[in-house]
Symmetry: D2
């Protein structure tokens, strides 16, 4: 199972739209996936689900989206020149043992030019620390406001990059 | 005014103990400072204080600790090989205009060897994006469990590094 | 004295053209500067000037461009997604004591979109290790082939960013 | 074929000693490897083998160590808080097409505590840009002077980490 993590809690985000495009792309490759929107986490999870605290509901969520998955896609918009804090807080909320040795694909989005390059590098560093293998191919979608309109991703180069990443993710 | 930000919401943290040492060190240099513990933020601030939402209580907190301060100390423990997500979520919760052009000193803490080097680099990248000048001198306190016992920091080399950083922070 | 370091040994580089623009900009602020082109280093300096080897000519070069300068501008083009190796080898060729406590401004150039963001971050990390204060404002000039034609930098936004950086560099 | 790259041109380096340990470890897994010492590159290769220049001898070296290899081990000592410039210059000296899609394992060495963590992160970023898959497991050998005496690596934990990395490298 592939879990696609929308790395922001913003409502109606471009990242969310991209996650659906990604899910469709995987489905066209006969691979099922499930989307976890961080906006659906308990609003106080940083406090209620850390440092040894654990509700059964949150454990079920982790079981479904982390423990049961072998591969992950993290969609990470750029906030203040890096990944959203909540995307790291989500990783902080569980033991690295749950994700160790698994695979991840990263996609960056930004309003500006760099496509969240710095955020992807830093997030990959953390995932690497957790012994997650992160694909080298990391599409960085810049100027996303022009690029992504509803479910329509316009740029052919970006579409090709995402397709190559999907091909690789399903083949490992 | 200097704001010392404890970059975790863990209770009774080593970072909190270090913040108090830092405050005392600044006081001995005749500089007043105030400590903000991220554990004292509203437990749902990632949801309630982002994307245009703002309570008056939170605005007052930002006025006190960000707007009124010219210099910042961020105490950042290492979580999963990087900074705590909450420390970035705190930055995400306000406009970069509030902190632009100000100064920051970073201190890293870790149970392991690297003293949160990767977390400090990534956090400095974000602060730099926000046009905050980050001091080059960034003490990285490794094996903190042995090092910091209550309010007693044992290692002479670390104490000297912190003192140099404090000297520099007060002089700019 | 300000030393402007052209961080590549490519002949007739865009970085070299930008260094001259930078020198003119400093001069218009009544600040003199000197340009060091890494292409003018001895072609075997990585071998002949490292690990305790030192010719008197190279020592004179270091005296002029590093020891005598208080501020530095590093112009760093993007090679393979990072800074040119030679730009780090140059730092490797002398003791950190020679540059400790001084100031640096970084400018990135790239053919692609990111303006050498990753290279600037990594280089700033190294300079920070050497206790060099690196300005937060780091212009990243992307798609430089379109941007810089001879001595003519076209983009108003980039010109404004460089001007802000120059203002800051001369004022510290 | 696995190429083990000693990422420094220092003579009799600890990195060189570790490369031999690595080669023996691979051999005990029935995998042959070849060691490339960057100290054996032409002393002026940054000038003579870049920007379109290419001697037949250097092309043969690239054919042997890069083109003919599918997997790479980069042994990277820490110089001034990052990787040696020469290790990046070596990558700069050839087209990314020669190494694209291949695999790399990184090992860091340092006199200090961090085991070249920052250098490994930055080098992994560059390799990722070149579409090289870099193993998440990156042993960081700190305080190497105490650790590595001749061909004898003392620390059991480090030996175990290197063994896990070797196991993974041969299995992909």
């Amino acid at each position: 199972m592939v879990s696609i993590i929308v790395g922001t809690n913003r409502a109606d985000s471009k990242s969310s739209a991209l996650a659906k495009i990604y899910r469709d792309g995987l489905l066209s490759r006969n691979v099922e996936s499930q989307i976890l929107e961080l906006k659906d986490l308990p609003s106080d999870f940083i406090f209620s689900e850390c440092f040894g605290n654990r509700t059964s509901e949150y454990q079920e969520l982790l079981d479904q989206y982390i423990v049961s998955a072998e591969k992950f896609v993290f969609i990470l918009p750029e906030y203040h020149g890096g990944f959203p804090g909540i995307a790291k807080s989500f990783l902080d909320s569980f033991s690295g043992e749950l994700i160790k040795g698994k695979y991840a694909a990263l996609v960056g989005l930004s309003a500006g030019r760099a496509g969240n390059l710095r955020g992807l590098d830093a997030y990959a560093g953390v995932l690497g620390y957790l012994q997650v293998e992160v694909l080298a191919n990391r599409p960085k979608l810049s100027q996303i406001e022009d690029l992504l309109n509803g479910s329509d991703l316009k740029d052919e180069e970006y579409i090709a990059r995402l397709n190559r990443q999907m091909d690789q993710l399903v083949s490992i």
